[in-house]
Amino acid sequence: MKEKGRFGQFGGFYVPEVLIPALEEIEQAFYKFYKDPRFVAELNELYKNYAGRPTPLYHAKRLSEHCGFSVYLKREDLLHGGAHKVNNCLGQGLLAQYMGKTRLIAETGAGQHGLATAMIGALFGMETKIFMGSIDVERQNVNVHKMKLCGAEVIPVKGGTCTLKDAINDALRYWTAHVQDTFYLFGTAGGPHPYPTVVKHFQSPIGTEARRQCLEQIGRLPDMVIACVGGGSNAIGIFSGFIDDKSVKLIGVEGAGRGVNTTHHCATLNVGTVGVLHGARTYLLQDADGQIHETECISAGLDYPGVGPEHAFLKESGRAEYVCADDKQVLDAFELVCKKEGILPALESSHAIAWLVGQKGKLPPETIAVVNLSGRGDKDVGIVEKHRPVK
């Protein structure tokens, strides 16, 4: 490998020897192509005409009124596929094409990354296999159906806790056996180097656009940027645009599930400890021996016991702050955005909104907050209905 892939003490590439050449190949291809004019032009064309970039920065006036300060929503929910995941999939998918790989594999939790990968597999005419925890297959069955419609094979994973971490385990195992023709399209800003760097790069248009839009539409930078954090890809994407603007607070919101003092949450940066999982040194939810905990959260997309290593670094360096919202606050926020704005936010994104709504009365009225609305909530309507039947 050319680089160590470190963010301070975090990151790295802690993988079995057999995977090193494959990671090396991706690192090499990424640095060869990411600034290559032909690659950039092709990707930008796809961002624009396939995915629907740039996405609007929307001033949510009634939500702002409710909060007592200005709330702007970065509308990644309007992208093709319904979430920010398509940004990363187009980038890595195109990279896989340039590398001559014939098969895409991916893990998925909520099914959003699986769906985005399935779409891109269809777009590029590549064989696509999606690994998904069997519990997630059940709770996100609409996305499973969509993936299949796009021609992907969905492989239910029954190992361990049957959720996202186990899907990653099985995708890694499959990759080990098929490294030569398979590209592992990793879904979040975690995993071994070079993925955290690659994923951040392909998600960075969120931040670049949002910053420009703030200057154009508001005439100044926001006071804070808020994003939900599962593995951390939508958050690092929007943070990347503001990281050098020291006046802009960066806030990541994790899932407190049924409460951080229970065992039913996924607030890794809030209460986790440092360890090594899925190729990276980062914060983890684990016991004293290092066995990884089960996690629980109302949104499958945040249900992961680790977090991207750059977020661990941003936490430690103090540049970003990581907070959390519990399931009840999230459902309240979901309903509030529906009622006030006529927008159904994904339950993942509702975490970011929930924290912000909780700041009502605590922030000066001139505050400008930008929330990354990472996805739309259509996929979650059934789950919300279960918890909060509509009268």
Binding site: M1, K4, G12, F13, Y14, V15, P16, E17, V18, I20, P21, A22, G159, G160, K165, D166, N169, L172, R173, T176, A177, H178, V179, Q180, G275, V276, L277, H278, G279, R281, L284, Q286, A288, D289, G290, Q291, I292
Partner: protein
């Protein structure tokens, strides 16, 4: 404490190296199983400490990890297990495990404590030679020998680098993929043994996918200094959970059959 070098030198044949997950299916049965394998002719032991997320392992060893964890296996008990085995016989023991367990315990303390218990080496499945600086100095200080993996996709330059940091043996992965029994021996294994042998004199032990006496004999005749058998033997435990006596008999017969098939006059 017997070293790998002494063992290979005395043997004058391929070493037979069965793999077990410590505490599978429970502490006491596991102890009987390992002792049975020693009596049946095991020359070196490869022992795993169960982890919740074993990404280099196939279904058989995943299930063994789950059984061991469910029966209460933890690092403290693993230490005790190694001590009990060493009291039974001075046989070289290599641990094969995942980094997070070592990391949480503290790398130096882990190496010191397990070396004191009688372990010869600690192979970390998800730590490549690129990050060896995190373990080499503490391993040396603790008195451990070092073992690293080479796979069919490891290039010559890397094999050289790996060999230069290895004092015990090179754990040679016979095929692309995770652990698991396989019908046929990978056609990558013989050329790989040859390549490694042309680069270094460090002993070469071959594992992943070796499932029966015939395959073991092929690997031995290709010049391997050791034959590591994991999933095939762990599967015997899985298949006989209801009948401990049968389990031990089958382990004994299997190890003996491997030993016999790989004897110099049989290959």
């Amino acid at each position: 404490m017997k070293t790998y070098a002494q063992t290979f030198k005395e043997l004058k044949r391929s070493a037979i190296i069965p793999f077990f997950v410590i505490g599978d299916p429970d502490y006491d049965t596991s102890l009987s199983i390992v002792k049975t394998a020693i009596d049946a002719g095991a020359d070196i032991l490869e022992l795993g400490i169960a982890f919740s997320d074993p990404i280099a392992d196939g279904p058989t060893i995943q299930k063994a990890d789950i059984r061991a964890l469910a029966a209460g296996m933890n690092i403290k008990r693993a230490l005790q297990f190694v001590r009990e085995i060493k009291n039974y016989k001075d046989i070289p023991i290599g641990l094969l495990m995942y980094y997070n367990l070592v990391y949480q315990y503290g790398v130096e303390k882990f190496f010191n404590d397990f070396h004191a218990a009688g372990v010869n080496s600690v192979l970390i499945a998800d730590l490549s030679i690129d990050d060896a600086d995190e373990v080499l100095a503490p391993a040396k200080k603790a008195g451990l020998e070092t073992v690293f993996m080479v796979t069919p996709v490891t290039n010559d330059e890397r094999i050289k680098l790996i060999a230069s940091h290895t004092t015990g043996f090179i754990y040679t992965v016979s095929t692309l993929g995770v652990t698991g029994a396989r019908q046929t021996l990978s056609n990558m294994v013989k050329p790989l043994i040859k390549t490694i042998k042309s680069i270094t004199d460090i002993p070469v032990c071959v594992g992943f996918g070796i499932s029966n006496p015939k395959q073991a004999a092929e690997v031995a005749s290709a010049g391997a200094d050791g034959v590591i058998i994991g999933s095939a033997i762990v599967k015997i435990i899985e298949d006989n959970l209801a009948d401990k006596k049968q389990m031990l008999d089958n382990v004994k017969n299997f190890v003996a059959a491997i030993k016999n098939a790989t004897a110099p006059n049989n290959i």
